[in-house]
């Protein structure tokens, strides 16, 4: 890594050459529209589940893009699949499908004999 003279705290660094992109590539393969997300947060603003509990679908989308998928399973279980996010999305991303794929992807990745823990 090039040294610009700044110090970087290890725990706050994301190394894009090494992060776990298995779930992200799975999602993009199955639901290509996911790539269109511009993180506007419309989905989160309208979310029925977020009314009841601390749940932020936009944040999850960001975490997946960073490969931080450790606690994803517990988070995504809060979604009630009502579909409002999909209807308000300005980029027409099929978010309901993305949620189902995340759930499925986690199960499938867990079944894979890998070192990664999810």
């Amino acid at each position: 890594m090039k040294n610009f003279g700044f110090s970087a705290i290890e725990s706050r660094t994301i190394d894009y050459s090494q992060f776990d992109d298995r779930l992200l590539s799975y999602l993009l393969k199955e639901e290509p529209s996911f790539i269109l997300c511009l993180s506007c947060g419309g989905c989160t603003a309208t979310c029925s589940a977020a009314n009841l509990v601390d749940f932020n679908i936009r944040r999850l989308s960001l975490l997946i893009r960073r490969g931080e998928i450790e606690n994803l399973s517990r988070e995504i279980d809060k979604c009630m699949l009502c579909g409002k996010c999909t209807l308000v999305c300005p980029r027409n991303i099929n978010l309901r499908h993305v949620v189902m794929l995340i759930k499925k992807g986690i199960v499938e990745l867990n079944e894979e004999p890998q070192i990664m823990e999810l």
Binding site: K78, M80, L87, R96
Partner: protein, 602 residues
């Protein structure tokens, strides 16, 4: 009795089919629940059996529902099915008359003309010969039509037919050959022994001049036997297994067995009862969006072949149009949901974070539903209606509430949905309400079917508004406007509510009837049930539906579902309003332009 060698293919085929049927039916029955098994046994000596026989006759043989679809298609099916059935029955009677005894070996009846060549003095032989020739002629006309259908399916009112598998082709070819071969065999025999009637005798007399009948007759009888045997042997592996299964299905259905939420013998019976006639293909709106492999017939085929994939399973609007036209009457939506439940079983949520909110006392509860919160004009109108009718109500999900659970159900997440249902249910019961009013048909269906709310009237707002009008609590004012009503899938085909919204609208404007309405109504394309469809494909379906709805150039397109409204409004082509808005609009006499604005705003 000695069996001649040429009969062997037929006998082997029959035996094979019989064994397979026995194994499969036994296996299916044993996989039913104990109560359902009791139903199967207990109802056998009751009216159920008679009813089933009647239904099997009307649908399985005469194909009444196919006639309704298209008379030509109906004739093709019934001439083959009913005609063949008559050939068997009358053939047995003929053989019985010939033997002067009821005990006839069944294969003897099948190859009757081969044997009945010397004795000419049995009772009614001319009548029987004429009848059998006539029925054979009818069946042959059906075969001819079946050939013709391969060339021109539009003549039979079909735009699409099912893509077949190689096993189907073998069975189909042998089926097509059976009757022409029978005709040839009987004609040749008639040419030699004069035992035919108007059809076979005439043909036989002609053939006699050109063919060495002594040499060709036996081979043709053998070919007839082989084609019969091959068809019967291929039957369990091909789509034609629907013939025995459908009769069994009719009996199971009539004895009160319902589809469960998991795959059991009954679901298997339904799956195997699909004849792949392809009638569901034309009714499917996915066609217009270029999706051609996810229709019910292909899903059932994939289930049978164990090749069902997620993209096929989840790419369906569950609008129920296929179910409506299915001549076998299969529960196509529920069969698909059963598979979705199975496929997503591993990752159901528990929602253990949900806490029950304090519940106020209420007589009437209003539950708008998630979708209505995206169309605030519906909520606003409902508030106005409650207010002017002077009805106190508790707006259950005004600020926050759990989802009704139907979207989860549609995606197959039944266990998760049940958690939400339990919570909402408890809250409703705690309030002591007597009426629950819903604005969203998606909620309505799940509240009606899966919630356990004894003594609570569950009403969609269109039903509720009609009640208010009847009780004189709101007074409709007729406006001079042309309205068309769009039946939402979950309210119409899903919950069989067609009349009430129309009764309301007739009091508010001129309701124009359409060609595709009620059971035949189109889906708006916005259905939550489809997880796979892309936005642009949804738009194609929506626009095609709007073409149909806009044909009569209505002033307003009225619907009763927030999701339909939102979907249609997105096209900016017609003034889309909810039925509640129509009612509320005339209540406080909002001038029309505002009503339009409201519709476009959403």
């Amino acid at each position: 009795m000695r069996i001649p060698a040429f009969e062997l293919p037929f006998l082997i085929g029959t035996l094979f089919l019989f064994v397979i049927c026995l194994i499969r039916f036994t296996y299916w029955v044993t996989s039913l629940s104990k109560i359902d098994r009791l139903r199967v046994g207990r109802n056998f000596f009751t009216r159920t059996t008679l009813k089933s026989i009647k239904e099997a006759f009307m649908e399985g043989l005469v194909h009444r529902k196919v006639y309704k679809q298209n008379p030509m298609l109906g004739y093709m099916h019934s001439s083959l099915a009913f005609g063949w059935f008559l050939l068997i029955v009358v053939g047995h009677l003929e053989a019985a008359a010939y033997r002067r005894s009821i005990a006839v070996h069944f294969h003897e009846a099948v190859f009757f003309r081969y044997y009945a060549i010397y004795d000419r003095n049995w009772p009614f032989h001319e009548v029987f010969a004429f009848l059998m020739d006539f029925i054979l002629l009818v069946v042959l006309s059906g075969v001819l039509l079946a050939w013709f259908k391969r060339l021109n399916k539009r003549f039979f009112g079909m735009k699409k037919t099912t893509r077949l598998q190689w096993r189907d082709y073998i069975a189909l070819t042998s089926l097509w050959l059976i009757f022409p071969l029978r005709f040839l065999a009987e004609s040749f025999t008639a040419g030699m022994y004069h035992n035919g009637s108007f059809l076979t005798q005439t043909a036989g007399n002609i053939f006699k001049h050109y063919l060495p009948l002594e040499m060709v007759t036996d081979p043709v009888w053998l070919a007839y036997s082989i084609s019969l045997g091959l068809f019967l042997a291929m039957l369990p592996a091909s789509r034609y297994f629907h013939i025995p299964t459908e009769i069994f299905y009719i009996y199971l259905k009539n004895s009160g067995i319902k589809l469960k939420k998991f795959e059991n013998g009954y679901a298997r019976v339904q799956t195997f009862s699909c004849s792949r006639c392809g009638i569901c293909l034309d009714s499917c709106q996915m066609n217009v969006a270029g999706i051609k492999n996810t229709q019910s017939v292909y899903v059932l085929k994939n289930i049978r072949n164990r090749t069902l994939t997620d993209p096929v399973l989840f790419n369906c609007l569950l609008c129920g149009r296929c179910e409506q036209v299915c001549p076998v009457g299969l529960d196509l939506n529920d069969l698909r949901i059963v598979k979705r439940i199975e496929k997503t079983q591993q990752y159901n949520s528990t929602y253990d974070f949900l806490k029950k909110e304090p519940t106020p006392e209420a007589g009437v509860i209003y539950f708008a539903g998630c979708m209505s919160h995206l169309t605030p004009s519906i909520i606003k109108s409902m508030k106005q209606i409650f207010e002017s009718a002077g009805i106190p109500y508790w707006f259950m999900d005004e600020h926050k509430a759990a989802c009704c659970g139907r979207p989860l159900m549609q995606a197959g997440q039944r266990d998760a949905a049940m958690k939400l249902i339990e919570m909402n249910q408890q809250q409703i019961l705690d309030s002591g309400a007597h009426t629950l009013v819903l604005s969203c048909p998606i909620c309505y269906k799940v509240f009606k079917e899966d919630y356990h709310l004894p003594f609570i009237n569950i009403k969609h707002h269109s039903e509720y508004i009609l009640e208010l009008i009847m009780e004189g609590k709101i007074v409709p004012q007729k406006i001079d406007q042309k309205l068309v009503y769009h039946d939402p899938c979950e309210l119409g085909r899903g919950s069989h509510i067609y009349g009430q919204p129309r009764a309301v609208l007739k009091k508010y404007g001129t309701l124009v009837p359409m060609k595709q309405e009620r059971e035949k109504a189109l889906c708006c394309g916005g259905s939550l049930s489809n997880l796979r469809i892309t936005g642009s494909q949804r738009n194609i379906i929506r626009d095609a539906a709007l073409d149909e709805l806009g044909r009569v150039a209505p002033d307003y397109l009225v619907t009763a579902c927030p999701l339909c409204k939102k979907t249609f409004a997105g096209a900016n082509r017609l003034n889309v309003v909810d039925i509640a808005e129509v009612v509320a609009g005339s209540l406080v006499s909002i001038p029309e332009p505002e009503l339009v604005e409201e519709a476009e705003m959403v």
